[in-house]
């Protein structure tokens, strides 16, 4: 049942069940209101998910208090093409330390454009051409947003690991040494 997909999408995008339920209801309400405009030019599921994504994005934009476009948020140091900082230090390797809870927490911190593409591609399993159609952007833009989203997630997850390591050291009474 694709109501599960719509609900899961909403839940992953907003991170709480009450809002996800409201958004699912809104998406299906829009579906009933707009069913007459579906002309079969795209797959029905693509049409429905575009509708659901738009409902979610609208909500996220309202929450952030401003219009947010897919082009939003490029990292200053990405423009210079230089590495941001010391990446991939062995003691911060994420492999084996990511679970659903900390991934979900990190995804919630992503800007709306990044979050949408990451959730649609890496979580929901859509292809870039489908995402481009749903979100009204180019395939290249979808790929670029996804890459930036993953890089941002890596930063967020590593920061969480660092925080946890600091806490562990403090708890173990070894807080005298500073790791940063």
């Amino acid at each position: 049942m694709h109501s599960r997909r719509v609900y899961s999408l909403c839940l992953r995008m907003v991170g709480n069940t009450a809002e996800a339920e409201d958004l699912t209801q809104e998406a299906f309400l829009q579906l009933f209101r707009k069913i007459g405009t579906f002309r079969g030019e795209s797959a029905f599921s693509t049409w429905l998910h575009r509708l659901a994504v738009n409902v979610v994005l609208m909500k996220l934009r309202k929450k952030s208090g401003k219009e947010t476009s897919l082009e939003q948020v490029t990292e200053p140091d990405e423009e210079s093409g230089t590495p941001r900082r010391d990446f991939g230090a062995p003691d911060l390797a994420l492999s084996g330390s990511i679970d659903r809870v900390n991934l979900q927490r990190a995804v919630e911190q992503l800007p709306p454009g990044y979050k949408s593409v990451f959730v649609l591609h890496d979580v929901q399993g859509y292809e870039h051409n489908e995402i481009a159609e749903m979100m009204g952007c180019s395939i290249g833009n979808s790929k670029s947003q996804l890459h930036k989203a993953r890089m941002r997630l890596r930063d967020l997850l590593q920061e969480e690991l660092r925080a946890k390591a600091r806490e562990d050291r403090r708890a173990a009474g070894g807080g005298a040494a500073s790791e940063d």
Partner: protein, 225 residues
């Protein structure tokens, strides 16, 4: 062969993650611990996200109850208008009755809801791998025969309905049109994606609904209600 530096690899990382892995980039990853760790991290994020995607939850029933109320308030579904046409006994329950938590199937609203729900279910990305040839030889024969039987039953039913209450007849004709649209949509989806098992299930359901509706129409034609 000179390998690329970290900055050059970072520029190509997006392509790398899309599977574009040139010899120089591969050589760099092999000899650079930092870039190797970066790639491993991104792979781990992808893997975890993929596993998260497999965990899907159904929306609670209250979403549909609330949606139904909203649709009724906007006049997008007609509940009361057709509820009185429902037979007092013998109403078929089951999954259709439960779609919006309704106490019994309500033809126009429920069928419209089903039409939309079926459309949602029919055309989504399918991960099922079915034997298309087996489906073509098995399912298409069955659906073809069902369709022909239903067409024949419809003709008989409509001629019987001619003597019943014209208001009731008109309403039931409307409902028949809705179910026919539903069937058309299901057939189209099955044709477009014959491997979609859900689409096939919905097509059979659509035929079943038409059979149920024709049966009800026949009963009304006989009783003159």
């Amino acid at each position: 062969m000179a390998t690329m530096g970290c900055n050059e690899f970072l520029k190509q990382l997006e392509g790398w993650m899309e599977g574009e892995r040139g010899a120089e980039a591969r050589a760099h990853v092999k000899q650079c611990a930092k870039c190797s760790a970066l790639v491993a991290d991104l792979d781990a994020i992808q893997d975890r996200a993929h596993a998260w995607g497999a965990e899907e939850a159904a929306p609670p029933d209250r979403v549909w109850v609330s949606l139904r109320a909203q649709l009724e308030s906007e006049g997008l579904i007609r509940d009361a208008a057709v509820a009185e046409l429902e037979p007092a006994a013998g109403a078929r329950r089951g999954w259709r009755a439960g779609f919006f938590g309704a106490p019994r199937p309500v033809l126009a609203g429920a069928y419209l809801a089903l039409l939309v729900t079926a459309a949602i279910a029919l055309t989504g990305p399918s991960t099922r791998q079915l034997d298309e040839k087996r489906w073509m030889t098995g399912t298409q024969d069955t659906t073809g025969a069902l369709s022909a039987q239903l067409d024949s039953a419809e003709k008989s039913t409509i001629s019987a309905m001619a003597v019943s209450d014209p208001v009731v007849t008109a309403s039931l004709h409307d409902n028949l049109a809705i179910v026919d649209n539903y069937i058309t949509l299901c057939e189209k989806s099955v044709r477009e994606d014959p491997e979609n098992e859900i689409a096939r299930d919905y097509l059979y359901e659509a035929y079943q609904q038409k059979a149920d509706l024709l049966e009800q129409m026949t009963e009304r034609g006989v009783s003159g209600r």
